[in-house]
Amino acid sequence: MDAKLTYVLQLADTCLIHAQRLGEWCGHAPVLEEDLALSNMALDLLGQARALLTYAGQLEGAGRDEDQLAFLRLERDYRNVVLVELPNAAASPSDGSGGRDFAFTTLRNAAVAIWLELLYERLQGSADAELAGIAAKSLKEVRYHRQHSSDWVVRLGDGTEESQARMQAALAVLWPYVNELFAAAGVEGVGPAWRELEADWRARWATLMAEATLALPRDSAMQPQGHLGIHSEHMGHLLATMQHLQRAYPGGVW
């Protein structure tokens, strides 16, 4: 696959799958205000994914639009990081297949928001005008996501004994997957290699963890490969839910 198309898909799919997981909270959040917040952030990310997938379809040149790319590809064709496909309950003591864990959701949301903010800041200066335009617009949105999720991380981390223990447990699950946020290659004239975000991301994350009185786990050598199309066992289940309407009623529209 063309390097530029791959680069756009890695970002587009990360937004798309992150939106899908956040959207699972709709109607289930602990309070109404948070239900609206999680759904709205999911909506922003879905909008960003849509713009990026539309562009990816043009780059591909095979006549596929954003809906076909979002709903009709096979698992190996998705290039999102594994972090965003993990279930919302990934850190719960159960099997992780159902339910929702707010601590894990909140931490992941903050980790991705900080990352997206750093990436969009750089991409808005891209020589690729389409990508630069999408980044400039999306940057304004993810700043609110970063602010909101960071507030929650601090409130829960530096909260009660119970909330801190849950955040610390969620952090242990999340941490090895963070490595992949710095794994994808850059493309000359399009966007930076993700590793160029790593120093800034780790500095911001360390500041947030200190404020939230959370201790960073030991670094892991794990290198998830979602950005290359190799996903976890959770991805198939997620896609089954996400794609079933288009699979059952091909071409169905509102």
Binding site: E33, E34, L36, A37, N40, M41, A42, L43, D44, L45, L46, G47, Q48, R50, A51, A129, A132, G133, I134, A136, K137, S138, K140, E141, R143, Y144, Q147, H148
Partner: protein
């Protein structure tokens, strides 16, 4: 074709989610022009995922249908900003019970503003959530009168 009449008609099209203000007052109409193929309206969507974008395009086409073929073009660059809401739009938002943006988006990411309640003008207000019933608003409460209200977030 009477472009002025078309413009007047377009100016009357309300935002579907905040009908107190028009699309023009919200600052999402970039241009209305005549082309060989009829009228072209250039719109800038507010938020990437705003579910009203398609509805807005439909409303514009319907409102201008009597003037012939209408093309709606979406333009992403430069990105929409709340700085483009007109003074009339701001007044109407305020009267409708939605506090208009009080600063630029750049300032908004650093400080939480101090708002006055749009109903009782009370100065004791608090933010309940950075998000609200639509992507563009946050949720607030007035401590004085106890009423909830919304704030149009700077973007």
């Amino acid at each position: 074709m009477n472009l002025a009449a078309a413009r007047a008609r377009l100016a009357a099209v309300p935002d579907p989610e905040i009908p107190a203000v028009s699309l023009m007052e919200l600052g999402i109409v970039r241009d209305l022009r005549e082309t060989d193929a009829g009228l072209e309206v250039v719109l800038t969507p507010t938020y990437s995922g705003c579910p009203a974008t398609e509805l807005i395009a439909d409303d514009v086409r319907a409102a201008l249908a009597e003037f012939g073929p209408v093309t709606v073009t979406l333009q992403r660059v430069p990105a929409w900003t709340t700085d483009w809401i007109t003074p009339e739009g701001r007044d109407k938002l305020q009267q409708y019970g939605i506090v208009p943006p009080q600063c630029s988006a750049e300032q908004a990411i650093r400080v939480v503003p101090r708002l006055r309640c749009p109903r009782c003008r009370g100065a004791q207000t608090e933010q309940l959530s950075r998000f609200g019933s639509t992507p563009c608003k946050s949720t607030w409460r007035c401590v004085d009168c106890g009423e909830p209200f919304e704030y149009f977030k700077p973007l």
